[in-house]
Symmetry: C2
Subunit: 345 residues, 2 copies
DNA sequence: TTGTACGCGTTATCAA
DNA sequence: TTGATAACGCGTACAA
């Protein structure tokens, strides 16, 4: 059996409450006893049992993190390590720890989350995705427990704390960037609109095209969902059009690499023949040839802010639920070219 | 305040022990009371407080996962989601849950791990890396708690349970594969030998070259550590050699993409001019052009086996510590070419 | 400044 | 088949 507070008390010839007070560094204990008790604690190698502490304090100092583990999510390469990095930078500063709810199926995740929440194993929850009619999110809403969504909620925007980029604006920025380089025939290749982020990005793209008085060609928009073959097919179609695009906006770096491969296969040069701009600024964007101009969504920051938000809510349950939009920034590399001659345009 | 076992007992007009027995589905309780109590449980939305249960049962049914979050690790793209997927596939089957110890610095990780272990918050630990003289691993060894390393321990091989690939053998396999395609001048580009896995792969490469009676050229071996510029430089040097290599073995898909980019920059064609084979079979390998022939190390399986091993140890502390080597498999794609004419060779 | 005693929500032991 | 009660390890109101 491990050493408990009793053992310390006995060996130090004090009561367990005294030991407890020393642990919390109570000012009511004389420096002398503190020194003595601490010495005994060290000698015995004592560490407080956090389970017992949780039980009596009715708080766990633990945050639950919910993530989907679908294959498509896994593709987001550095997203997971980066966001966890951001989250833990904050949680470890405030001495919170982390519990995970992953799972293959929606059902499994749901079980994990309810177990965690009902079982009183966490004080708050961060959800790493946003999806329409998601049972987990609906459950959390009813459960009273503080939670934060990383992504834009599909409804109850004002009642849910969330941390996100302004993905619509970011897509507009990316598209405007391309337009300012002189491009007029611009395609979009990305994911379908099941997840909010995909929906917002395509919306932003459309908006920017229209705002600039360009023609919005529906056959310039392709959904490939990270699929290699579909990507090749989409690019082939796009490039065999009589007035083919001179630039492509990509929804993320994975899709961008697929398109890069497809263009390379067709011996089409980047950025000479086609410019491409992408999202996420993941590792991939930094090591392709040419390296990708991409919108950095600052995943690490997103993680940090989500963690700050949930800890704040846990500490002060009645604080108003304020949500946060993290700015995005375009990282210029070598995949975009300025069009100059009329001929090119 | 949440609903407790007391509330259920009161409303059901039974004692709390009866409720507790219903929860564990004890055969000593009549079907009738079971039905009644379960109904009340449902009505009140009662869920057992797992913290209290942990306290009395002296077990948490929770596994701690330790990972490094250094930038180089983050590069492993799909490693983290995949290994977590494998682990949780098993843990959720056995109704274990998961606690995370990440951290920017070695010091932070160490704090997290000790807190988790001393605080009795986990029954066992999985360490997702293997490194020489690592304080966390040394601590775990002394702490009595069951733990499993995903990777090959640097010492005490027989006293530590670990799950790994035979990375030396895998590198030999990859090199032999290339050799059997007729290549004789084969280069290796990878990471330096700080981590065990890198060390073992370069060792296997050397061995295969020697075993096949080929000449081991030291200037055919380059360390680039996932760095783009260093990768370009290494490739440039290699390709400007009078008798340049016809094939390159890469330590992982990230380094492979860098080399692919560098070769593309030099207008050297794959696999026509140079064949490349890589490790990990991550998403990247499936979406480059050409797609990469790569050694699948089966990260998901590694995660599963690590989870199985730790749960077994938790359940039966005295079981002998058997370690496991997960077989690797070469996934053939389009980045390797068979050499036929003497001229090519 | 320190100690006593109770309670946190369970499970387990012993009676009934 | 059920109930009363003592743990589990800790924090804290109340006493001293």
């Amino acid at each position: 059996m491990a050493v408990t507070i009793k053992d310390v008390a006995k060996k130090a010839n004090v009561s367990i409450s005294t030991v407890s007070r020393v642990l919390s560094n109570s000012p009511k204990i004389s420096e002398q006893t503190k020194r003595h008790v601490r010495k005994v604690i060290k000698e015995l190698g004592y560490h407080a049992n956090l389970t017992a502490r949780s039980l009596v304090q009715q708080t766990t100092r633990t945050i639950g993190i919910v993530m989907k583990n679908s294959s498509r999510e896994a593709l987001h390469t550095t997203f997971l390590p980066e966001v966890l990095g951001g989250i833990t930078a904050i949680t470890s500063k405030y001495e919170f720890s982390i519990r995970l709810a992953i799972g293959e199926s929606e059902e499994e995740i749901f079980q994990d989350v309810t177990k965690m929440v009902q079982g009183k194993q966490v004080d708050g929850v961060i959800v790493l995705y946003s999806k329409k009619d998601d049972p987990v999110i609906n459950y959390l809403k009813d459960s009273q427990i503080p939670f934060v969504i990383l992504g834009r909620p599909t409804k109850d925007i004002n009642k849910i704390t969330f941390v996100d980029n302004d993905n619509r604006q970011a897509a507009m920025d990316a598209t405007n960037y391309i337009i300012q380089l002189g491009h007029k025939r611009i395609a979009y290749i990305g994911d379908d609109t099941k997840f909010e982020v995909a929906k917002l990005r395509i919306t932003g793209f459309r908006q920017a095209i229209l705002d600039n008085g360009l023609k919005l060609q529906e056959n310039f928009i392709k959904y490939i969902n990270g699929n290699y073959e579909e990507g090749f097919e989409a690019v082939r179609e796009l490039m065999s059009l009589p007035n083919r695009p001179t630039a492509i906006v990509l929804s993320d770096d994975i899709n961008a690499l697929i398109v890069l491969s497809a263009l390379s296969n067709l011996a089409i040069k980047i950025p000479e023949d086609v410019s491409i701009i992408s999202f996420n600024n993941s590792t991939i964007a930094r090591i392709t040839y040419p390296r990708l101009t991409t919108v950095d969504v600052q995943v690490y920051q997103l993680g940090q802010e989500a963690a700050k938000a949930i800890i704040e809510q846990v500490n002060e349950p009645n604080v108003i639920k304020k949500s946060l939009l993290i700015p995005t920034v375009i990282i210029e590399r070598e995949s975009c070219k300025k069009l100059t001659t009329v001929n090119e345009i």
